[in-house]
């Protein structure tokens, strides 16, 4: 059965088929009074009992959450049952019903606002699956979630805009820094919106590669910050009582949402509380014996307080790849602001395979910019190895862990037949081309002034950028894998 995680994540994280007791070292916190000799444990038929206090106290079964897994050296067993103990679907439905949730720190909170953010790829996936137009699919999804209990359904265009704007700006800074300090690790700049790629880089290549990775947050996490900080404020709701769900094309996004970096100490909550994927929505609909087309109609909202466009909110695309168009946007911005080319042409050339292609900018017969898009693990491998040997010719690479990018994410709806996979990706790419183009990001720009105190303010930096941490590879002592 195909894993919902990207290939890059599978390689580094999936471990031996040994039951958790062999591998997992999550410490158990037992609440107990001080005793002289340590706990006395009795093994009963239905559990383990602490009898040191004089009376039996059933010990809590250890539960492993994704955050724990990420915190240690990254064992994620492939046994589905051990995987995501926070079964997102069940959790989601429970939150809808009870209006309460338990965050990653184990604290139960009341929920006063449930916000669902939709990214384009899973919506496209569901549209193709249920044979609906994207507009129809969006309406139905909004209606479906509303009927379950969601309060607001949003598109992520503003977050995508911010992510692209920051990436463009970051590239310019890096380019200039590299000119001033040729031996620095500013270039090539590598995109950061794919968590599969980021996790792989942190665990395998660490401090060598990390300086190259863009610090710009992914749209998911920018959306998280916007919802928890700005939206909650505008609605007069405590950030910790907003339950933010994002709809994504892969499971890797669940890991990204659980990162400690995306837990706000200040607000005592995660930026994104739950990630649900296209395939899980398909399952949920299936469990209710319904097709998406049978859901009631619903509407997206635009809560960002800007009425510049006048157009109703909808799923939009950006120019470029189905993974967000990073290479295209940064390229065009750089061409204009570094070389004065306002109408640079983007002609991609396939290298070894269609998942590795490059585009160049020439000025006065000389090549001045060289960008690439590298999808899939084998291409990431080659990119990293070339970088290691100092032979990388690129200024910027859009890196995605899944072959064909996010449209072919690990948790997009699968094709009915084994051979149909390729055709399905093509259908999704075609559907993506037909999406309305996002207008110039006036709303996003307005946000800088209004809420973020300007482009380079600390607030903007905190909300829009993140950091990476090489995972220490020295084995945990008693549990070294061999």
């Amino acid at each position: 059965m195909a894993s919902r995680f990207s290939g890059a994540l599978q390689l580094t994280d999936l471990d031996d088929f040994i039951t958790p007791s062999q591998e997992c070292i999550k410490p158990v916190k037992i609440e107990k009074t001080k005793s002289k000799t340590g706990a006395k444990i009795k093994i009963g038929e239905d559990g383990y009992f602490d009898i040191s206090g004089g009376r039996e106290q059933k010990l809590q079964k250890v539960e492993i959450t994704l955050a724990d897994c990420l915190a240690c050296s990254g064992c994620i067993t492939s046994a589905e049952s051990v995987l995501v103990t926070r079964q997102s679907q069940e959790e989601l439905l429970r939150v809808f019903n009870e209006r309460k949730y338990k965050d990653n720190k184990g604290v139960t909170k009341n929920v006063s606002l449930i916000v669902i953010s939709l990214s384009p790829q899973p919506v496209l996936s569901l549209a193709v699956r249920y044979k609906l137009s994207v507009e129809e699919a969006t309406k139905k999804l909004a209606g479906y979630f509303k009927s379950l209990g969601a309060d607001m359904i949003l598109d992520m265009t503003i977050a995508e805009d911010l992510s692209l704007l920051e990436a463009q700006q970051e590239f310019l800074e890096r380019y200039h820094n590299q000119q001033n300090e040729p031996s620095s690790k500013n270039l090539p700049m590598l995109s950061s919106s794919c968590p599969g790629w980021v996790c792989y880089a942190e665990k395998t290549h660490g401090s060598f590669i990390l300086p190259h990775i863009s610090t710009t947050k992914s749209p998911q996490q920018i959306m998280g910050s916007l919802v928890k900080q700005l939206l909650s404020e505008s609605r007069g709701v405590i950030p910790g009582e907003v339950y933010h769900v994002t709809v994504m094309p892969c499971y890797d996004k669940k890991l990204e949402a659980s990162r400690e970096d995306f837990y706000s100490e200040l607000l005592n909550c995660h930026d994104v509380d739950c990630v649900i994927t296209a395939i899980e929505i398909e399952q949920m609909l299936g469990n209710s014996n319904m097709s998406l087309s049978e859901a009631a109609d619903g509407e997206l909202e635009n809560p960002w307080g800007t009425e510049e466009d006048g157009t109703p909110p909808s799923i939009k695309r950006h120019i470029g790849s189905g993974s967000g168009g990073y290479a295209d946007h940064v390229f065009l911005y750089a061409a204009e602001h570094l070389f004065g080319e306002t109408n640079a042409r983007l002609v991609y050339k396939n290298l070894r395979n269609p998942d590795f292609r490059e585009v160049t900018l020439e000025k006065d017969g000389k090549e001045v910019l060289r960008f690439a898009i590298a999808n899939g693990f084998r291409n990431i491998q080659n990119l990293v190895q070339k970088l290691k040997r100092g032979k990388s010719p690129y200024h910027y690479v859009e890196v995605m862990a899944c072959p064909s990018g996010c449209l072919n994410g690990g948790a997009q709806v699968r094709s009915a037949t084994a051979e149909g996979g390729r055709e399905l990706v093509r259908a999704l790419e075609a559907a993506h081309e037909r999406l309305p183009l996002a207008p110039p990001p006036r709303a996003a720009r307005a946000l800088y002034a209004r809420a973020l105190h300007g482009h380079h303010s600390d607030k903007a930096r905190a909300l829009l950028h993140t950091a990476y941490h090489a995972v220490d590879k020295t084995d945990l002592t008693l549990n070294i894998k061999w």
């Binding site: 290939g7 599978q10 390689l11 580094t12 999936l14 031996d16 088929f17 492939s78 395998t204 070894r352 395979n353 269609p354 693990f377 084998r378 491998q381 080659n382 190895q385 290691k388 072959p403 084994a418 390729r422």
Partner: protein
């Protein structure tokens, strides 16, 4: 009565010799092991001697060495997670390229029949396919995560770019490239062994595959193509492989290696009971249910486990074997 005559016992390595590999011309062989060196042997008069020792290529045990079909390159797979490529362009054997990427121990390396591709596999459960893209330039073509446990060995089909891997997960998998989108994928899984499959070998035509396992059996598999005469159902566009023969009751411990001579059709096995066995297909063997006879049992071939056996590719019936105790032996098979 067939026998295996001992021609020479070679002591050169310290510690376990994991693998020995013949140069395609059959007049040189390479050996590798626990002592982190590769030794190249050739004959001086009647005796095999060490001609070259390759050191400093790896920091840990070298598990397997493989010559390219043209004979100009030697690849070595090591527990240090790298695969080194050696060649003699400069006059001396030097390591001119290192393939990195595996997470931990690399257990096997093999060149495709054209010499354009290399395959490696390891404890990280993956099989990697590399392409030779230029002078000392190798690029990763595919990373295949089909197995869910340690992968022990990879071998290529004798004439096509079809790759086979054997694993701790008790299965064998076959992989092919889809020319349309240059994507490699697993096209078949051979499941029948009850424990780790340690090694495998194609016959001369590549239509049959012999596998050996910790379950103490050798299995012969036959390819049934899409339009086969025997009426074997083949559901997809790929061939089906069926286990048509199991040799059990012969080996008393884990079988570590198997070699199928392309000239004589003889199968040799290396076993943890210190014995080398030779099997031959019976005269009246039915292609769809072949029978193999044990025609030679070399008891105490080595004082410890036999790790590797390999027939001389020139078809002169020479066989080399290596053992845990550091010995390499050259044998001659005689009818």
């Amino acid at each position: 009565m067939s026998k295996l005559e001992l021609l020479q016992t070679l002591n050169g390595h310290k510690g376990i010799v994991w693998n020995v590999s013949w140069h395609p011309l059959g007049n040189i062989f390479a050996s590798c092991g626990e002592d982190k060196t590769i030794k190249l042997w050739s004959k001086e008069g009647q005796d095999w001697t060490i001609k070259t020792v390759l050191v400093d290529g790896h920091q840990r045990t070298i598990r397997e060495v493989a010559w390219s079909p043209c004979g100009n390159f030697l690849a070595s797979a090591s527990f240090d997670a790298t695969t080194a490529i050696w060649d003699k362009k400069s006059g001396q054997f030097e390591c001119n390229a290192t393939l990195e990427g595996h997470e931990n121990e690399v257990k096997s390396v093999a060149w495709s029949p054209s010499g354009q591709l290399l395959a490696t596999c390891g404890r990280d459960k993956s099989v990697w396919v590399w392409e030779v893209t230029g002078d000392d330039e190798y690029e990763c073509e595919a990373v295949l995560n089909a197995h869910n446990q340690d992968v022990k060995k990879v071998v290529w089909h004798p004439t096509m770019d079809l790759l086979a891997s054997a694993s701790y997960d008790n299965s064998v998998k076959l992989y092919k490239e889809d020319k349309v989108d240059s994507d490699w994928s697993c096209v078949a899984t051979l499941q029948s062994h009850e424990s780790t499959v340690w090694s495998l070998a194609f016959d001369k035509t590549g239509e049959r595959l012999a596998t050996c396992s910790d379950d103490k059996t050798v299995k012969i598999w036959k390819e049934y193509k899409v339009d086969n005469q025997e009426g074997v159902i083949v559901t997809e566009r790929e061939s089906t492989w069926k286990c048509v023969c199991t040799l059990s009751g012969y080996h008393t411990r884990c079988i570590y290696d198997i070699s199928w001579c392309h000239q004589t059709g003889l199968i040799a096995t290396a076993c943890g009971d210190d014995i080398i066995r030779i099997f031959r297909e019976a005269e009246d063997s039915d292609p769809n249910a072949p029978t193999f006879e044990l025609i030679c049992t070399k008891l105490e071939a080595h004082p410890q486990d036999v790790n590797c056996v390999t027939w001389n590719p020139s078809g002169n019936k020479e066989l080399i074997s290596s053992s845990d105790n550091g010995e390499i032996k050259i044998w001659k098979f005689e009818e």
